[in-house]
């Protein structure tokens, strides 16, 4: 009976699906058709969802919507501008000298002994419903003293039936800053912040000792509230202070990142209980925040679902933006309460082809463009600008482009005997190679034109970048006809002669110059890229040997300083030139120090200017210093400069408020979807085509006829 019942249910389901007006290839349940849900993809499992740990853009897609640091980037304004999020106003640093006297911002760095950021948060901000905050009748926490038996049958957070909330306090921010020093957490910015936040190093040592002792207990919970800490302290329920050891204007940018999100101590107690991590119930898997969304399903093998946080305080869409934003319809929702979507479903798509096809069918609201689909989506118009193909236009798809605040470069190891060092010979050799390696061609061949050749370390959109003639690298380009033109290969060959390598041969020994490039890009897909690179070096008679390896081994070589030439990239943490210039700052070398200066470049003047520039506010004085620094590195050529990628993103007509913002992580709340239009388009684009199936069935049926005839003939035939 049970089997018949199940078959009946199955048949009914299939029948309902077939009879509904939802397309057959709709990957979502029919009841979602009219709902205000945003659909997107992710291709890689987020490694961490603990805000003290997470440091990857694919994790910020989720974390940015859940956690709320004190500050955020304005969604529409450019250049990127920080504005308060949970803070009531932008914090203004107060500078103190050794005696505790308030001194001027412009005071010399050595006189500043403390920089105090006092932050007041908005009152009445509530956390999402969460079992860690569930309380009983007498206000005691229900799930803070769980025994092993209590956890029977518990496998996911939703198995805890009760949830609760409480008001966000300043102490939660202080608690999170202390978590960065926790030895168990391994916060990637703990080292960096220890250089700036007063007492963080000492707190780390103290906690390490405590943790060592606590590890004998099963739970090993350390109550961070009981540790006094000079670097962050609570003033009252809504105000806290962060104290830095020195001037660090970029600190404000960090305050917009999830590292500085609030963390209720209750969450730490809850997740630290014995048996929780055995059940995969950890803070790294189930975030708890005050943001507009909460993670209602964390299944990185299938989908991640963000749902509207019912306790969200409400926030309104910006009422002003850039000059053209109103004309582009980006201010239509000005002043309206956010978030606009009720739910966001991110489906795992590891392969680009299914992702692209599902976007075209209307099942994803937005998409990037992979190389395989580029020609189908984009064509170059008469002016050489990227434009959508007719197929895309017919579907009402729009294209948005933005130069990314990233740089991909090919660098020289300055410790290398041949290509490195400060000698005139090595410098001219590097300059010659910089001219020969034609990144315009590279962008055209390998990036479908989606990139801008770099003229220096600072990408467009970041203060310090110079556009036009003033911004070209004079060692590689000339300004011809109103645009940068790469110098001819003859100039590079002359430099090779000056470097002692005429036609790529050592002037004394006559031996051909052989250089080695280490690259983490291994596999057949990289062959064309490597062939192209060899061709570029060959223009100067240089033989380039590629040493392709996996990323880990590549990193190992870089740490040991044994690579000669390498390829790497950098995504900006924040929109400040310091975040790019530090890639060439001597004390930040990769070799031995494990810094981010992978070329191990060291120039006394550059390092000195960096020290000045990093603490300055944006203005003419800072621009002058940056110009000088850029000039130094252009001359020394520790990099071939490479290119800044241009991001192309496609959006369906029902997707509103699309504007590239490469800095903000909390963009989901601004997105608006028109589900009615989406449903109509999906239906129009995906009518089931039964014709070929019926034809195949008919052919199969007809093919039985000759088989039967043959069989009958054989049956009737006489035996031999």
């Amino acid at each position: 009976m049970q089997i018949i019942h199940r078959i009946f249910i199955l048949a009914t389901t299939i029948l309902i699906s077939a009879c509904s007006d939802s397309p057959l290839n709709n990957p979502y349940p029919v009841e979602e058709d009219n709902k205000n849900i945003y659909y997107d993809t992710f291709s890689e499992r987020p490694k961490h969802l603990d805000p003290a740990l997470s440091y990857s853009s694919n994790e910020y897609v989720f974390l940015g919507q859940i956690y709320e640091p004190p500050l955020q980037y304005h969604f529409l304004k450019r250049p990127y501008q920080l504005i308060p999020l949970t803070a009531t106003e932008m914090p203004v640093p107060v500078y103190q000298d050794n005696n505790g006297n308030v001194i001027d911002e412009e005071s010399p760095s050595e006189k500043i002994s403390k920089v105090i950021y006092r932050i007041t948060i908005k009152p009445g901000v509530l956390y999402q419903p969460h079992p860690a905050l569930a309380t009983g009748k007498t206000d005691e926490y229900i799930y803070h003293t769980l025994e092993k038996n209590d956890l029977k049958g518990v496998h996911v957070l939703a198995d805890f039936k009760e949830t609760g909330t409480r008001v966000l306090t300043a102490a939660d921010y202080v608690y999170q800053i202390k978590r960065m020093a926790h030895p168990k957490i391994h916060s990637p910015i703990a080292g960096l912040m220890s250089q700036y936040i007063l007492g963080l190093t000492e707190l780390s040592k103290q906690l390490a000792e405590e943790y060592k002792n606590a590890q004998t207990d099963e739970a090993s919970y350390i109550d961070l509230r009981k540790y006094d800490f000079e670097g962050a302290r609570t003033i009252d329920d809504t105000t806290f202070e962060i104290v830095l050891k020195e001037k660090y204007p970029q600190f404000l940018y960090w305050l917009s990142m999830s590292f500085f999100s609030p963390m209720p101590w209750e969450a730490d107690v809850f997740y630290s209980q014995a048996g929780m991590s055995d059940r995969n119930i950890t803070l790294d898997w189930y975030p708890i925040g005050t943001g507009p969304f909460m993670l209602s399903e964390n299944n990185p093998n299938l989908r991640m679902v963000l749902e509207k946080n019912p306790n969200f305080r409400g926030e309104t869409f910006p009422i002003e933006g850039e000059k053209n934003d109103a004309a582009l319809g980006l201010l239509e929702d000005a002043g309206k309460a956010m978030p606009f979507v009720d739910k966001a479903i991110f489906s795992l798509e590891k392969e680009s082809i299914p992702t692209w096809n599902k976007f075209l069918q209307g099942y994803y609201d937005t998409s990037g463009i992979v190389s395989d689909s580029f020609d189908q989506a984009v064509q170059l118009n008469a002016q050489g600008e990227a434009d959508l193909t007719e197929e895309m236009k017919e579907k009402g798809i729009t294209l948005l482009t933005a130069v990314m605040t990233s740089t991909f470069y090919t660098g020289f190891n300055m410790r290398d005997e041949i290509v490195g060092g400060e000698s005139e010979r090595a410098m001219k050799l590097r300059q010659a190679i910089a001219i020969a390696v034609d990144f315009e061609e590279f962008i055209s061949i390998f990036a479908n034109g989606r990139g801008l050749p770099s003229q220096g370390p600072v990408p467009p959109g970041i203060f310090g970048h110079q556009a036009g003639e003033a911004g070209i690298n004079p060692y590689v380009y000339d300004w011809v006809g109103g645009k940068a033109k790469r110098k001819s290969i003859d100039v590079a060959k002359s430099l090779m002669i000056e470097a002692g390598y005429p036609d790529g041969r050592h002037v004394e020994t006559g031996k051909g110059l052989v250089l080695y490039l280490d690259s983490p890009a291994a596999g057949p897909g990289s062959k064309a890229n490597f062939d192209w690179l060899r061709k570029q070096f060959n223009k100067l008679g240089i033989t380039l040997v590629i040493r392709a390896t996996d990323y880990n081994r590549f990193q190992g070589k870089m740490l040991k300083g044994t690579a000669q030439i390498y390829q790497w990239g950098w995504n900006a943490d924040y929109p400040d030139p310091e975040n790019f210039m530090f890639l060439l700052y001597g004390p930040n070398a990769k070799f031995e120090i494990n810094g981010e200066n992978a070329s191990n470049y060291k120039n006394k003047e550059f390092d000195q200017l960096f020290g000045q520039m990093k603490n300055m506010g944006n203005g003419d004085a800072r621009q002058l210093i940056i110009d000088r620094m850029v000039e130094i590195v252009r001359r020394d050529s520790p990099w071939l400069w490479g290119y800044h990628p241009v991001a192309f993103s496609l959006h369906h007509s029902w997707y509103k408020n699309a504007k590239p913002n490469l800095m903000a992580n909390n963009k989901l709340k601004y997105k608006r979807i028109d589900p009615v239009s989406r449903k109509a388009q999906r239906k129009k684009w995906n009518p089931p085509v039964w014709g070929p199936v019926i034809l195949i069935l008919i052919v199969l049926c007809l093919s039985i006829i000759p088989a039967i005839r043959y069989h009958k003939r054989r049956e009737r035939s006489a035996a031999l």
Binding site: N25, P188, N280, L302, N552, Q555, E596, W690, A707
Partner: protein, 325 residues
């Protein structure tokens, strides 16, 4: 038979130890614990101190195979190999390098794998036997010749082509099923149809040819000639005698793969975004999660050994002449 089964299980122990050693050596030749730590901790601002802590917490700071500093048996036991291997034999897979309970993850992810592999197996068996028997029935006719030619052509096409082509034609052009994805319960049916169909079509070439050969071999035997001499119709000969005896090698061949159905398909699961054990293994390899890799290899080996044992047992069930000693 019981003694035989016990003996086979005892034989399995050195095989599993060998598999474990090979997995361990291959993994650690390619990846050092430092590499693994870097992969897990991310790419930006990772300090040596964080790497050391990560290794210490997971026991990867110990010597790999031999601790020359230790005394007595600790020389062996205080190593990464020993501490990561012994508990596998108790089926305690422990935690992955990112802290998740591997047994729980396996128990969750085997169902999507099974939801693809089981229908694929049964539908495939039915289709391939039907095709194989039909070609044998029409042996030496144009139908047989063209059938074999088509089978050879289908065998020569890459499995990836079937996947991409199937997604394109059925999902994109005909709009009949979702191109990729997965869901639980009855909602999973629309996602299963395409991978099962593609798996079935992709296997037609090789399986039909194999089954045809089996049936043709049976048709040449004396008992078939006797059946025909008795005046039985060709259908009777084929379905009552040839099919029954031809099923013996087919079923024993199927039994060996039955346990491995849990392990899923690496490529299919990846292309269809199915959260099964195949993609679990692939993800673990790409994220250098040794704990998962060694668990999955161990589990695969155990299942394969069980499959071989079941094959032997199934021989005794379908062929009374076979006795296990």
């Amino acid at each position: 038979m019981t003694a035989y089964i016990i003996r086979r299980f005892l034989y399995a122990i050195p095989i599993l130890i060998g598999v474990n050693i090979i997995t361990f050596l291959l993994f650690f030749v390619v990846n050092t614990p430092d590499d693994m730590a870097r992969m897990h901790l991310g790419q930006k601002r990772v300090t040596e101190q964080a790497i050391e802590k990560w290794k210490h917490e997971r026991g990867y700071d110990k010597p790999v195979l031999w601790d020359s500093q230790a005394e007595g048996k600790n020389k062996i036991t205080n190593t990464i190999f020993y501490q990561n291997s012994v508990r596998l034999f108790l089926f305690d897979f422990g935690r992955s390098d990112n802290g998740r309970d591997i047994s729980y993850d396996i128990s969750q992810r085997m169902w999507p794998s099974l939801s693809i592999s089981l229908p694929g197996l049964f539908l495939g068996l039915f289709a391939y036997i039907t095709f194989g028997l039909t070609l044998s029935f029409f042996r030496a006719s144009y139908l047989d010749i063209w059938g074999v030619v088509i089978c050879v052509m289908m065998m020569s096409i890459s499995g990836l082509f079937y996947i991409i082509g199937g997604q394109f034609i059925i999902g994109k052009v005909l709009h009949l099923v979702p191109i990729s994805g997965y869901d639980t319960g009855l909602d999973s049916i629309k996602f299963i149809v395409l991978p099962v169909l593609i798996g079935l079509v992709g296997g037609i070439g090789s399986s039909t040819r194999w089954y045809r050969t089996i049936f043709l071999e049976e048709m040449g035997k004396d008992y078939v000639r006797t059946a025909r001499a008795k005046g039985l119709s060709e259908q009777m000969v084929m379905y009552r005698h040839v099919l029954r005896n031809g099923l013996i090698p087919i079923l024993t061949g199927v039994v060996v793969i039955l346990p491995l159905l849990f392990m899923g398909s690496l490529i299919t699961e990846s292309f269809f975004s199915i959260p099964g054990l195949g993609s679990y293994t692939i993800d673990a390899i790409s994220s250098q999660d040794f704990a998962i890799v060694r668990s999955m290899v161990f589990l695969g080996s155990v299942l394969y050994i069980i499959g071989l044992l079941l094959t032997d047992i199934s021989y005794t069930l379908v062929d009374p002449r076979v006795r296990l000693q």
